[in-house]
Amino acid sequence: MQLASPSPDIAKGGTSHANLEVSGLRVDLGASGRDIVAEISLTVQAGQALGLVGESGSGKTTVALALLGFARPGARIVDGQVLVAGRDLLTMSPPELRELRGSRVSYVPQDPVSALNPSLRIGEQILEVLEEHDYGGSHAARRERMDAVLSDVKLPGNRAFLRRFPHQLSGGQQQRVGLAMAFACVPKVIVMDEPTTGLDVTTQAHILETVRQLGREYAASTVYVSHDLAVVSEIADHVAVMYAGRIIDMGRAADVLGAPEHPYTLALRQALPELKTRRVVNGIPGVPPLPGHRPAGCGFASRCRFAASECRSEMPPLAELRPGRFVRCVRVNAVRQSDVEPAQLDEPSLRPPSQPGAILALRNVRAGFGDTEILHDINLDLMPGKCLALVGESGSGKTTLAKTIAGMHAERTGSIVFRGAELEADSRKRPVETRRLIQYIFQNPFASLSPRRTIGSIIAQPLKLLTDLSRAELDEHVSRSLERVSLRPELVARYPDELSGGERQRVAIARALAVEPELLLCDEVTSALDVSVQALVLKMLRELQRELGLSLLFTTHNLPVVATIADEVIVLQDGYAVEHGPVSQVLHAPTHPYTRALIADSPHLVVTDEVAAGGGETGGVPHP
């Protein structure tokens, strides 16, 4: 291979060896000659973890699957080497590959629910892997191995547990079973595709701890694919940042994330909200280029604030700045000199409230389904023009609470007063004016916009129903709403599937704002979005809130997001409001143990590295 394989590892003594060496890997879209990912070269030493970071569409999952010698239907691995313990995966025959997968190289998928066979008991599930690879040679040896691996992943190995079915386990336990299956045959390489994405922060923190420990104990090379910089910084020794199918930044985790030298990494850092600092998050405008539509030059150039003319004409090489640090950018010096310190979040300048007192007041609200009570005795006041965040993990009742206020969940008791008047439980019984003034934005913009309607028709729907605008006024309102969320008015004729996730969520926001509401209920509106887009949406919501004097109720599981948008926080646990107060107080001096646990378990960007302390290059790193 003429391609030098850049090793992100600074060799420390002669003990460590690479279990995984990838060089010149390229995956194409069918036989089209258009690449999905290309020029992927990386090395992971035994016992170390590489974080493969990228946003949706960056090609990180394609790389992860290629490490197992697998390409999704429609994709083809056309070039490169994937050496696992010295053997090239890509030249193997299908039977050889089958033998290797699950034993030498294993995979932990994102969603354990769909990865585990729902009709197999946990014990059978794990034994199956061992039997498939004839581990240990005897049944007794395999049973013993199963017990050992179960205790390694901190699952009970007793008979009762082994006889359970996947649906009888919690999400965290299911993912531990996934880990047990991956580690069962003592693999050399483990590829993990966002294994904690669907989990609550506390569970995530525990799983991450286990993953870190197992990687070391088994001396396996771990490739940890994630979109979450904070999670990666906690688990990975090295980081490779992907963008538009290329590795654009690679090196020691603390180095790459702590002192970004690539404009994209820097932008990602600035888009990432942090728990302890109330600062403005800056998104990255624009969308990444898709495979087959990539420009000749640097893929990031069109969104890069450092871009020069040469960036657009030629793809910069992945240059080794110093041993173990690779950056694919010709403007590194400009990036280094840029101002890294982000602006602090200014307090919203309050418009004089339209009426005194709370715009929304809940007293002793209880809600549930049938006999199950989900919300217990909730009280809250939302002041006009303020943003109140409802924080809680899945099952805490935050969405139910938002839907109860919106009138989409009618099974409730207690009193909800909006602008001085009691609200009907069912939104359909509320007067038109009330329905107009309270708007709801759903979590998932892929589900909240009808795929068969044009953007124009989607935004016009509430306008037609809740206002008496004329046809011409309607069109004008629609295009004004689109402009307000920084979307081109031409989009009215498009359909949702022609838009990116961020654009769709902005359409959903535009739809809500079109009718000029006073109270906006935002249900996890950024959780389906990439960080760079999340930052754009958060910033926009904050600005709109100030501009229009909106009152916001913002539900989220993500504490750092709270720090960037909310004025007040209510922490929900199992349907009880356990803590309530201003953001700074709750995040910095939490009183309830549950809040403290949430804060402690929230992943945060780790930019210090004891091992790299002598590096010297990390000076001037902003500490979180």
Partner: protein
């Protein structure tokens, strides 16, 4: 009704496909989903073959009555005489031209089949939508009523109605349509239930869009392709069922020509002039296979199998 809309748009789609590149429009409006689905389906060879067959059989049955000569009811030779220069496919039990009767005897089956499928799928879809709206009494009532109909074998249901009212063509159509209702209702209910749960439907509900408009404007457009597939399937069954009922003598009354009854009439002469039986059998089989090919293509296109092979190619 859904079916007609679907069929019409299929035609529009292929036309637009040919015209589109020539017109430099500033902002193309995307064609409705059925057109997109149909276009994608037409990329499969199978669909094209199916369409060819169906066009042939339908053309045969529609143009047939006008070109049939000698007239299908007149005696053209000795009974069961074999193929000759005058009677290309020979004559039937009464000495009438098989080809003439074949040409003139298809349109009734075809028309009745289409009407029965339209009514059946239309009513079934409406009931399925209504049942999907909310779990409860209405849902239970609709679905259990449909189960009752479903418990009758289709032929028995037809025979039952015919024996009470008499062999009327409209009754046959109605009986077949009735039998389509429960199956369609179940399919539509299940796909609508999935759409019903989506956020945009909840959204429409929350801002107070009337229920019937949510069903028609939000849910129905998202299940049109599945309804279209169901319609294709039902059309084949309709034609088979109506042919069977005609074979039993409950369809078009003799001496009018009819593919189904022809088979029965000429069965005794099968060894003398097989065309009297084979002719209508081939026509019905061709039609059924053709429609099935198209339906299969549409189904693949709905699921997205075609799209995948696009990516590879």
């Amino acid at each position: 009704m859904t079916g007609t809309v679907g069929m019409r748009n299929v035609a529009d789609g292929s036309e637009a496909l040919a015209v589109a590149p020539a017109l430099p429009r500033v902002r193309r409006r995307r064609p409705p989903e059925v057109v997109v689905v149909a276009r994608r389906a037409l990329r499969l060879t199978k669909t094209k073959i199916g369409l060819g067959i169906v066009v042939f059989v339908v053309g045969f049955a529609v143009v047939g009555p006008f070109v049939a000569s000698p007239p299908p009811k007149s005696i053209a030779g000795a009974p069961f005489s074999t193929a000759s220069a005058v009677n290309w496919l020979g004559t039937d039990a009464l000495g009438r031209s098989v080809l003439s009767r074949l040409l003139a005897g298809g349109w009734v089956i075809l028309l009745c089949g289409v009407i029965a499928a339209l009514i059946g799928v239309g009513v079934g879809a409406a009931l399925g939508l209504m049942a999907s709206w909310r779990f409860g009494l209405r849902d239970e009532f609709i679905m259990r009523s449909l189960d009752v109909i479903l418990s009758f074998p289709p032929l028995i249901l037809g025979l039952l109605l015919v024996s009470v009212v008499g062999p009327k063509l409209w009754l046959i159509v109605l009986a077949v349509a009735l039998w389509h209702v429960p199956g369609t209702g179940r399919v539509v209910r299940s796909v609508a239930l999935e759409v019903r749960r989506r956020d945009f439907v909840q959204m429409a509900e929350a801002i107070g869009v009337p229920t019937w408009r949510i069903m028609g404007g939000e849910i129905l457009p998202n299940i049109t392709s599945q309804v279209l597939v169901e319609f294709g399937l039902r059309l084949t069954w309709s034609i088979g069922l109506i042919a069977s009922l005609s074979f039993l003598g409950f369809g078009r009354q003799p001496p009018a020509p009819d593919w189904g009854y022809m088979i029965y009439e000429n069965l005794v002469g099968l060894s003398v002039n097989p065309w009297g039986v084979i002719g209508p059998v081939i026509m019905i089989a061709l039609l059924t296979v053709g429609i099935n090919f198209i339906t299969d293509g549409i189904q693949r296109s709905v699921i997205g199998i075609v799209r995948e092979s696009d990516a590879a190619g």
